[in-house]
């Protein structure tokens, strides 16, 4: 997937991406140039964005709330039936070890209304799960998503293409071998 070929890209992001975009001061251009969706689990839990060492209210909570209220960013909620679709594919060991926000994000990827969106995270298991679910061509790393809008930034390796490819491919291999997949489906 070469995002630079697209004018406007639809992206589903998890909490780590929201936090990092704020850390590197790229949140505003990112949400202005990409069409961004955040899973409801991530949005509804303010504690995700609060630095436990700080007394003051997190600026991430405020800026996410502002972006949502101005419709610059959208929130999407998966239903329990949509979560169950992911549960039918991945085995308990994988499901138990991903966060509910990641579980929801992956479930949302299967809703018809979001079929043009790509999945952006920075986590080994979340990328691997995407590969296992057959979403290998619908994943993007933050590095690529930023460069696509001319906002390149030197990021740690977990935000880069090589990292994403490695773990998405591991997931694809699991999909082929059945490792981590529910037995009845394989």
């Amino acid at each position: 997937l070469k995002l630079r070929d697209y004018k406007r890209v639809l992206i589903l992001v998890d909490a780590s991406i929201v936090i990092t975009l704020h850390k590197i001061s790229r949140w505003t251009p990112f949400i202005q140039r990409h069409e961004v969706i955040i899973p409801g689990v991530v949005v509804s839990d303010e504690a995700i964005f609060v630095d436990t060492g700080e007394v003051r209210r997190s600026n991430i909570v405020d800026s996410v709330a502002q972006a949502l209220s101005s419709n610059t960013v959208r929130r999407c909620d998966a239903s329990s039936s949509e979560l169950a679709e992911v549960e039918q594919v991945l085995d308990d060991l994988v499901l138990t070890n991903i966060h509910s926000g990641e579980h929801e994000g992956l479930a949302l990827m299967f809703t018809p209304a979001l079929e043009e969106y790509v999945w952006c995270c920075s986590d080994k298991l979340a990328y691997k799960a995407a590969g296992m679910l057959g979403l290998s061509d619908r994943c993007v790393c933050l590095d690529e998503a930023l460069r696509a809008i001319g906002q390149g930034y030197t990021l740690p390796h977990e935000y880069c293409q090589e990292f994403m490819d490695q773990y998405v491919n591991e997931g694809v291999q699991c999909r082929i071998t059945g490792l981590g997949m529910r037995e009845e489906l394989h």
């Binding site: 780590s16 436990t52 979560l83 929801e104 298991l125």
Partner: protein, 365 residues
């Protein structure tokens, strides 16, 4: 699906003695009517609601969504604290997470203690304590190493939590192995005794009644076991013979000896009674003596060892699962009771730092 899920939520809520209003409040949902509708299957539950409800019930989303109902593991309490159900649920959640993490790292449960021991009198309790001390390799002053050896060599999970003023300790055994819950508010020597006491229940787990609180006789056996385990007759005799002067033992020597064994003065005094060094009425007199109590208190170290928020081995195994790519970082944060922003800091508290290259490996011959 919504009805099954609603039934499971209701069953777990009732097990925790929570009302629908309690659960709504804990889940940060607007009203108890939402819980009522979800439980009756009249409402398609959203992922964020499910996540918050699961968190409040101390289970994971997929445990809630699993078609088989979550079978609750048995927990034996020494003295039940206030709101025991919730503390128990949190403890069992930690145990289940520990099992998941071990599986994610490909580690098998390896406890040598299967809970198959049976005792019917004090002689058997004494023999069991002797045998256990040898098996654990505890040495002459067992309390100093007991917790560490159980955790490091015998795969016990020891969780120190604030159980309030009333609760002392609990234990459980299941697919996760053996686990002990200790009140972090207790003094270190009390915690050592509690661990030894709970160890007895785990060794005799299969023989125990199904009640959550063992009967009085079993509790007395557990106390006797703890006393024999932590205060070996031979070592205590050698030590006590050295400090007896003209048929008397000075208060300060007695207190110092209790510190040496890392037990409470009360535990030492009752052990001296069982070894026939002191008469029972003398033990009671000493324990009520204001001078003795004052000396005991002033001899306490001002800085006790403070147990970590979470068991160290649990944190290490969670970190290992994350480094192996089998646990997401957000989930790691959740397991460590923090969030993505705070997770690195929390890991650093346990001496763990995420570094590139931790996954490098070599080919074997």
């Amino acid at each position: 699906m919504p009805q099954d899920l609603g039934n499971r939520i209701k069953a777990i809520r009732e097990r925790l003695n929570l009302t629908q209003a309690d659960l709504a409040e804990k889940s940060k949902l607007a009203s108890h009517q939402i819980i009522s509708e979800i439980e009756r299957g009249n409402r398609e539950i959203k992922a964020f609601e499910l996540s918050q409800i699961a968190g409040a019930l101390h289970v994971s989303i997929n445990e809630l969504m699993a078609p088989d109902e979550l079978a609750p593991a048995r927990v034996l309490w020494r003295e039940e604290p206030e709101r025991a159900e919730e503390k128990e649920a949190r403890f069992l959640e930690l145990c289940r997470r520990y099992l998941n993490l071990k599986q994610a790292c490909g580690i098998q449960s390896s406890s040598m203690f299967g809970g198959e021991k049976v005792v019917s009198d004090y002689h058997e309790v004494e023999r069991l304590a002797e045998e256990t001390r040898k098996t654990l390799g505890l040495g002459a002053y067992p309390a100093k190493e007991l917790a560490h050896i159980l955790e490091a060599d015998f795969d016990f999970l020891i969780d120190y939590s604030d159980l309030g003023e009333d609760g002392s300790a609990a234990c459980s055994s299941g697919p996760f192995g053996n686990a002990i819950l200790v009140n972090s508010r207790e003094a270190p020597w009390r915690r050592n005794y509690d661990i030894a006491h709970e160890l007895f229940h785990l060794l005799t787990w299969n023989d125990a009644e199904s009640d959550d609180c063992p009967d009085k006789a079993t509790e007395q056996f557990a106390n006797a076991f703890a006393s024999h385990l932590l205060l070996p007759a031979d070592t205590v005799s050698v030590e006590i013979d050295e400090i007896i002067d003209d048929g008397k033992i000075a208060f300060v020597d007695m207190i110092e000896l209790a510190r040496k064994f890392d037990v409470s003065t009360s535990a030492l005094l009752w052990r001296l009674r069982s070894l026939r060094y002191l008469a029972p009425e003398v033990v009671e007199q000493v324990l009520e003596n204001p001078t003795f109590r004052s000396l005991d208190k002033t001899a306490m170290t001002p800085h006790w060892w403070e147990p970590p928020d979470l068991p160290e081995k649990y944190v290490r195994i969670a970190f290992l699962a994350y480094m192996k790519g089998n646990l997401s970082k957000s989930k790691l944060a959740e397991h460590l009771d923090t969030n993505l922003i705070g997770v690195d800091k929390k890991l650093a508290e346990y001496g763990l730092i995420e570094t590139e290259g931790l996954q490098e490996s070599v080919n074997t011959c």
